[in-house]
Subunit: 309 residues, 2 copies
């Protein structure tokens, strides 16, 4: 079974890691949000790509959900001594990724090519693709500050400002990265990972050609909202601030028109009939991925659901 | 006595450090070569400025003569794993300097302003100025490869290519950094530190206004060539390749027209009469700075010589 997974950061990376344990490299392509990308200290930083690749490579810090395990912060500590900004936590090993990515992009290499080379160096054999090689920047419109660049909202302001809406600057001229549409076309199904629908999955769906490429496919989404809350990140808070009751049902509504299957947690079992009414195949299971085994089991559940569609 | 010191990297930094021990902050300005500056991984790197500032701050690695003491290289080790270039040795603490400098320059701050702020953060109270806020790039013309950017020649090729000449790209439109000409004007004397005449001091002298600003001043140079050899760096090799016998005499000839005093090592005492013939006051002393005490003693010798001029 050939699968394309759409992923943002932590939650998406975990399910992608589960799928990697079940599918051979030629059968899985992970398409990653780059709307979070930004430049900092002159370096090109791709937080979601790095979280996905570090996770698949076994390099991610499991304590924080970002950055590298057994990391040091000597550079950042010294930036702070110089009065520079230390709100974005750049570890020393992690810096290498940004330094070398920046160097290669400035040489004219495409982000997808750099990502492929890095995956090879890290021993990641399944295909990881940025959604686009062209820059797309998620802008968060907030009550308090107006429009904020994503990392400014997400990391610097710690998601505290109230959200009014989102836009993806540059998306109108962005093309899917080489391989994205081809992978979708060949896929038996597409998995929308339990990532933030507003700022992790919507940017991917907004890239020209991706939505229409998905239209003929079996698509299964896994709810990132469990019991009305997100495991990590501001998705539930965003739903509430936009006037929508945060729930697995709200996530299913979010993707309405795309979904043929939907996975929600046992704590949300009561919502299943409401989603099912919308002619979507439902799987109620343990959607929380606390352990490595959970990732594999949930991935297996998702593949099982796909086979019933 | 108000002094301006012209300096490149290691040798210049050592004598500047000696002068710092003898002169109060308002009486010493160190003007530093920026012809070595370059961009690497998207970061703006100023090797001579950093060597001088780290030395004066007590942060320099005394073993290597570059970079920070008690340094780690976690970023660079990981760049190497990604297949990136590791010929320029970027330590993790040192990276902070380049990251924050790059961030501030991109914000529109001038290099001289960034340097002043960094000196303050590092507890360096004497004034350190880049020769110019505009980019000047030393290009080394070589037999083997034609023109090489300075760091390409100096670090990557380890000074192995044979030198045919030098040029300082951009120097025609570079202005002395704010404070340089003012410091020279107020100075009782200018000290040309024992730095490479070709690629550390000549770029400073080539910035419009600096040479003419020096013309009315008492100028003392300290030979970086001792017994026909350089303590560190390729100056002697450069002289030889350009067809000039490398010696303290050659250095004095190099600065002819500028000098009123010249300091050479005891091993070169026999050269003193030849230099003296050129109507320059000579001091023969121990010009090698192996210890912290040597720096102070040589600086005192230089100040004593200046008082006899």
């Amino acid at each position: 079974m050939k699968i394309v997974a759409l992923a943002g950061g932590v939650g998406g990376a975990k399910l992608a890691d589960g799928l990697v344990q079940l599918l051979s490299p030629q059968d899985l392509t992970v398409v990653v949000n780059t709307g979070d990308d930004f430049e900092h200290f002159g370096l090109y930083i791709s937080p979601d790509l790095d979280t996905v690749c570090y996770t698949l490579a076994g390099l991610l810090n499991p304590e924080t959900g970002w950055g590298r395990r057994t990391e040091t912060f000597h550079a950042l500590e010294n930036v702070k001594k110089l009065g520079g900004p230390d709100w974005f936590h750049l570890g020393d090993q992690d810096l290498a990724t940004h330094l070398e990515r920046t160097r290669r992009l400035q040489e004219g290499q495409a982000l997808s090519q750099v990502t492929r080379d890095f995956c090879q160096a890290w021993g990641v054999w399944h295909t990881v693709l940025p959604m686009s090689d062209q820059p797309v920047r998620t802008i968060v419109d907030t009550m308090e500050y107006g429009e904020l660049a994503f990392q400014e909202y997400f990391v610097h302001q710690k998601c505290k400002p109230k959200v009014k809406g989102f836009r993806f600057a540059g998306v109108e001229s962005a093309k899917p990265a080489p391989g994205v549409l081809e992978a979708i076309e060949k896929a038996d199904a597409v998995v929308i990972c339990p990532s933030n629908p507003w700022v992790s999955i919507d940017p991917i769906l907004a890239v020209a050609g991706i939505w229409s490429g998905l239209s003929a496919k079996r698509i299964v989404a896994v709810s990132p909202i469990i019991g009305g809350q997100t495991v990590k990140g501001p998705a539930a808070k965003m739903y509430a601030e936009l006037g929508i009751q945060p729930s697995a049902l709200a996530v299913a509504e979010h993707y309405r028109g795309l979904l043929s299957g939907f996975v929600l947690d046992r704590v949300d079992a009561e919502l299943a009939p409401k989603v099912q009414a919308a002619d979507i195949q439902i799987l109620v299971t343990d959607a929380l991925m606390s352990t490595q085994t959970d990732r594999r089991r949930l991935a297996q559940d998702v593949l099982n659901l796909i086979q019933t569609l």
